[in-house]
């Protein structure tokens, strides 16, 4: 006698603590095994692209803060690079170094958040998260020194950064660079090689390199699948071409690789910041341009390697003080394309972990 079974469809979210925001998934299960996943998003849609069309080029910077609110610096950077390309502005040398320092600090803080929440999803409730937030706090303190805010930074401006770093920033960042590697070692001591972590993440949610490329994934998701693609190397912006760093690449593309890769990237970012602090020249930090920039008619696309992947801004100018069109290519949204490939066939308990390992941010998915 055979038991008659039938698939069950479950709604996960939009309000669910594991979905990192208001994200909803319609999942069909056969027992515990996932048969089908349908992501539903748009709950956090704020119309950033449309709002940008009625603000001046300088004001849009404040909107970009709110896309991926755990990595505002990278968003600022991508946007100002696009405007600079559009208007043909070359920022001063010192500003470019400051931007790279800020963007790399932001990468560390974003990866710390990603790692912390990833372990939170694994059931290690709050403890690893608090460890990660301890260092993130130090980074936010640095940001506060730099630009007076901690989350919504608005630090970068078209043609540079808004102001030079205060004198107290330099000793503070040296201090940070001296103690941070120890803390990263501490995470690794606690997490890397931990049996529970290994058994829950090793060979779970495997993503093949081919699939990742076909899904146009980018960032840690793509690199963990063994594809060496980093915009900081492939299309260097600001001063990345003068800095020495490695691009960590995964091998299997499972959840564990994605975790390891983020830790490795934190170490590389520390290396980049150290070089920048050593190399940074004196000089102005902001090009003298009018408050109301009027780029010539045309369009421009600029992209950066944000902590989550390729973040791009496509701007169209009609010669006025506001962008005619502003399209944001957000890595979080496009990395979600791999969701079906890495979830279908796995169990319910793996789903939350795998989803957390992609590291999305709803502010950026819905814009």
């Amino acid at each position: 006698m055979t038991l008659r079974t039938e698939p069950v469809t479950i709604n996960l979210g939009p309000q669910h603590p594991s979905t990192h925001g208001v994200f909803r998934m319609r999942i069909t299960f056969d027992g515990e095994v996932i048969l089908d996943v349908e992501p539903v998003f748009g709950y956090l849609h704020r119309g950033s692209e449309k709002l940008a069309e009625e603000r001046t080029y300088a004001q849009v910077v404040t909107l970009t803060d709110r896309l991926d609110y755990v990595s505002s610096m990278s968003n600022n950077l991508a946007y100002v690079l696009a405007v600079e390309k559009l208007a043909g502005i070359q920022p001063p040398e010192r500003a470019m170094y400051l931007r790279v320092i800020a963007a790399e600090l932001q990468r560390i803080s974003s990866h710390l958040v990603a790692t912390g929440f990833f372990l939170n999803d694994l059931g290690a409730l709050a403890t690893p998260l608090m460890y990660c937030f301890r260092e993130r706090e130090k980074i936010l303190d640095l940001f506060e020194m730099l630009c007076g805010a901690r989350i919504t930074l608005s630090y970068m401006r078209v043609g540079g950064v808004f102001q030079d770093a205060p004198t107290e920033f330099w000793p503070a960042i040296r201090d940070f660079l001296s103690f941070m590697p120890e803390y990263v070692d501490e995470y690794e001591k606690m997490l890397t090689g931990n049996e529970i972590l290994l058994s829950r993440t090793k060979d779970v949610g495997i993503l093949a390199g081919e699939t990742a490329i076909n899904c146009s994934a980018s960032g840690p998701v793509l690199r963990s699948a063994g594809v060496n693609w980093d915009l900081r190397k492939a299309d260097p912006y600001d001063v990345y071409d003068r800095l020495e760093f490695d691009v960590p690449v995964g091998t299997v593309g499972d959840n564990y690789d994605r975790y390891l890769l983020r830790i490795a990237e934190i170490r590389q970012s520390l290396r980049i910041i150290e070089q920048c602090v050593d190399q940074i020249p004196e000089g102005p930090v902001r090009e003298r341009i009018p408050n109301l920039v009027r780029p010539p008619v045309g369009d421009a696309y600029a992209h950066v390697e944000s902590p989550k992947g390729e973040l791009g801004f496509y701007l169209v100018s009609d010669g006025s003080i506001a962008p005619y069109r502003c399209k944001i290519r957000s890595p979080s949204l496009i990395n979600l394309t791999v969701l079906r490939d890495i979830l279908i066939g796995w169990k319910l308990a793996d789903m939350i972990v795998t989803f957390g390992s992609i590291d999305i941010n709803m502010g950026e998915v819905d814009r």
Binding site: D65, G148, A149, T152, M190, N194, I196, N291
Partner: protein, 166 residues
């Protein structure tokens, strides 16, 4: 093999027992603020303000409301507009500081506080009278002249309009 994890975990607990805590007992202890902190209590100096409304135009949200009439006397700049209304609706403000960046006469500054909780949204509007009478501890955000003097708004002396100019 299994079981080492427990020992390792307890080791971590033990080492942390003797570490200096990272947390701050907030309401009793003040969180240290950097001088550039973009806080809530805007500092505005009527003596310096000409009523040009650059700040209002530059605000991405348009939440600064300024009403003026001709015939005021601005101290550093001579004849100018007198201010009737200068409202900042900080219930909608995102503390981006663009208004401060736009002010050409160093009349508007970000503040340093962050504890302005209210029960009603209307009470979050800072009116001109409040701005006039408040104790002004301006943030050094976008004001290099204050940074040069090493001014610290948190716990510092309130500054008068003559002390904040370039």
């Amino acid at each position: 093999m299994y079981g080492i994890g427990i020992a390792k975990g307890l080791m971590v607990t033990l080492t942390n027992l003797f570490r200096k805590p990272f947390t701050i007992q907030y309401p009793e202890e003040a969180v240290p603020q950097s001088p550039r902190f973009r806080g809530e209590e805007f500092a505005w100096y009527e003596e310096r303000c000409t009523g040009c409304a650059s700040c209002a135009k530059y605000c991405p949200l348009g939440i600064i409301r300024i009403v003026t009439h001709p015939g005021g006397a601005n101290v550093p700049e001579g004849d100018s507009y007198a201010i009737d209304v200068f409202d900042i609706d900080i219930g909608r403000c995102m503390f981006c500081g663009l208004c401060v960046e736009a002010c050409p006469y160093d009349a508007l500054f970000m503040g340093s506080g962050f504890e302005r909780g209210q029960y009603r949204r209307d009470d979050l509007i800072i009116t001109v009278d409040e701005l006039r009478s408040s104790e002004r501890r301006p943030s050094t955000w976008f004001r290099p002249q204050l940074e040069e003097r090493d001014y610290r708004p948190q716990g510092g002396e309130p500054l008068s309009w003559e002390e904040v100019g370039r």
